[in-house]
Subunit: 374 residues, 2 copies
């Protein structure tokens, strides 16, 4: 599998008139090597491919693992007097044009590379079209996420905190062999009006200032199985939702359906599925109902990264194609404006599911209940 | 506190003859804003400081949180037709020289910035000297880590897996209000010979191939309290360690002491504490005992990031000063070479503690037992 990916990459290099490529992003390194244990916060490795060589460059902390797990690439161990630049120097003559990941490589690294290779060009290793094997892994992550969400519904009770609820989800995922694709977001009450709330110590309960309305519970969670991510958001109400809350929920749910139906109709009629138009279908529906525009894009690709191509946003130029896996996640967020008069109104609803385009059409991968209130 | 940090930053800019700075790294954004919820994997924010303005640039997902939690910076909300580049254009005349983080900014971002500001210079916001308040937070993280390690010693039993042991540590930390500074590393047996082992499903038990020797258990764990990290590694033996294992342990422990004593003697005599020489004191001792050189640096600064300045490594030019917090973590790793004859020998020992330099001298912040076998 990895040999094939390297072979495909070499063909892409030919097409792009490049003699080699320096791969630096952890997800692309993982995609080409199968080894996913490098830090995303520090530069711990590169993959350096030319016509006649394919190196994985890392340091002594990883070399034993790489020798065992990545036999299809040549290990270049930097450190102890051996620098990456030496390897660049060794191959500078045979590489006239080198591909680099301009959206990942730092300015500092670029300076060193430029000293050795004059002709540098952005190179994008597209992973947006998934193989069946990749889709299976994403599906497994979605299924474990569904189980975790179902499990945690039983924990939604007076007195539980956001952190405790998030912890129950994460505990369940890890206990069943999964990892997290990101720290679980749990937002109660007005916290749900912050699309990326930092899960805290707020308590669910009747003491809330929510008065005669349900309390918002927004859960955004992702599982990782064999390095592949899932992503799902659900919003439920603790207690009877007010009319306004019901309306918000219904509009968000309908917005998601509008996007789904738009994709399905394009697929049926053989039209290109333009990601920007999918975004528009959901966004304009929400606006037409008098709610504010979604303060984020409608969706994003998911795979080795929790956010990757394609992008479903107003300015996207992506076309949604067979084999692509992406989220559709409309949301409405009403701020409290800090005024007591508005406190009761603050809150947000987001509903997010993962989808894949297959021969038979659009298929939903996350299947958790969209129940309304608990 | 944050106002003072911005004020100090403006003074640094004057010293460096810069008219402004674009801060992009999440840890520096957190340091200047107090807001630590941005992703490290995607660019979600910048701080843009000039003589007469101080912006935090982010999108609608974060704007409500920023308005509440970061009143000392002006929010520039990008998206919905407003781009960061517009803000650059607005201020391009007053900024002749702009500081950027070359070790963080990508080539792609650099291209856009260069269009607007001709004179770009690397700027390094040093956080290596900590205030008392910062040290207290790191100490709190260390203390919670010590409690978690003490707690988990009771779980070291036949049949437990690496993942289960790691999970018990993480559960304890989260239950007590902490977060993780990195995913806990637990390595049993020969896995401990991989300095950055990926915690897996290996089982602790008498069935191991270790024969007449103890089984290595290496635990590398970090806690985060109020955004500040701790870092600690312990190695213990499950069962009676062999003579060779004992020797490895004693040499690593003594190497750590050599480094500590070297720092203490410099501090007493008023000599500069050169980080490279501290590394050398431990490294050469290990070599002198016939073991391989440490395949990583001896230590690193710890703060908002788990790895930050100063660096204790052979090529470091850093000087260890009052207020700096850093790890000292020598290790010996013996590979199994894949041969059955060597299997019994494969394993690693690392001992890591955090230290701070204060008026009274060097103080150890992590205090977990260095017991030998369980």
């Amino acid at each position: 599998m990895f040999d094939k990916r390297i072979k495909d990459l070499r063909e892409e290099l030919l097409d792009e008139k490049l003699d080699g490529v320096l791969v630096s992003s952890v997800s692309n390194i993982s995609y080409l090597s199968g080894y996913s244990n490098f830090s995303k916060e520090e530069r711990e490795a590169y993959i350096f491919i030319g016509k006649n060589f394919s190196y994985i460059i890392t340091d002594g902390r990883y070399s034993e693992a790489i020798k065992k797990e990545v036999p299809h690439l040549t290990l270049f161990e930097r450190g102890n007097g051996k620098s990456t630049e030496e390897l660049f120097k060794k191959h500078k003559k045979e590489i006239k044009a080198l591909g680099i990941e301009e959206d990942n490589l730092t300015v500092e690294e670029h300076k060193i590379i430029k000293k050795n290779f004059k002709n540098l060009k952005h190179f994008n290793l597209s992973r947006s079209i998934k193989t069946k094997d990749e889709i299976k892994k994403i599906e497994a992550a979605c299924q474990l996420g569904d189980k975790a969400f179902h499990h945690v519904l039983g924990y939604i009770k007076h007195g539980i905190t956001e952190k405790e609820l998030a912890f129950e989800i994460e505990y369940f995922i890890k206990k069943h062999g999964g990892e997290l694709s990101f720290p679980t977001i749990v937002a109660f009450g007005k916290n749900s009006s912050v699309p990326h709330h930092h899960t805290g110590n707020d308590v669910l309960g009747p003491e809330s200032s929510s008065g005669r309305q349900g309390q918002f519970i927004l859960v955004d969670m992702g599982v990782k199985v064999e390095d592949y991510c899932s992503d799902m958001t659900r919003t439920v109400f603790f207690g009877e939702p007010s009319d306004k809350q019901k309306k918000m929920y219904e509009v968000v749910l309908e917005a998601q359906k509008k996007a789904v139906r738009f994709i399905e109709s394009c697929l049926k009629s053989g039209k290109q599925v333009k990601a920007a138009e999918v975004d528009k279908a959901a966004r304009e529906y929400i606006l037409s109902k008098g709610f504010p525009s979604i303060p984020h894009s409608l969706g994003h690709g998911v795979g080795l990264e929790i956010h990757e191509n394609p992008h479903l946003s107003p300015k996207s130029k992506d076309i949604l194609k067979m084999g692509m896996v992406f989220s559709i996640e409309p949301g409405i967020y009403i701020e409290g404006f800090g005024s007591p008069r508005f406190t009761g109104e603050a809150g947000g609803v987001r509903i997010e599911d993962l989808f894949v385009i297959e021969k038979k059409g659009l298929r939903q991968l996350t299947k958790s209940t969209k129940l309304f209130s608990v």
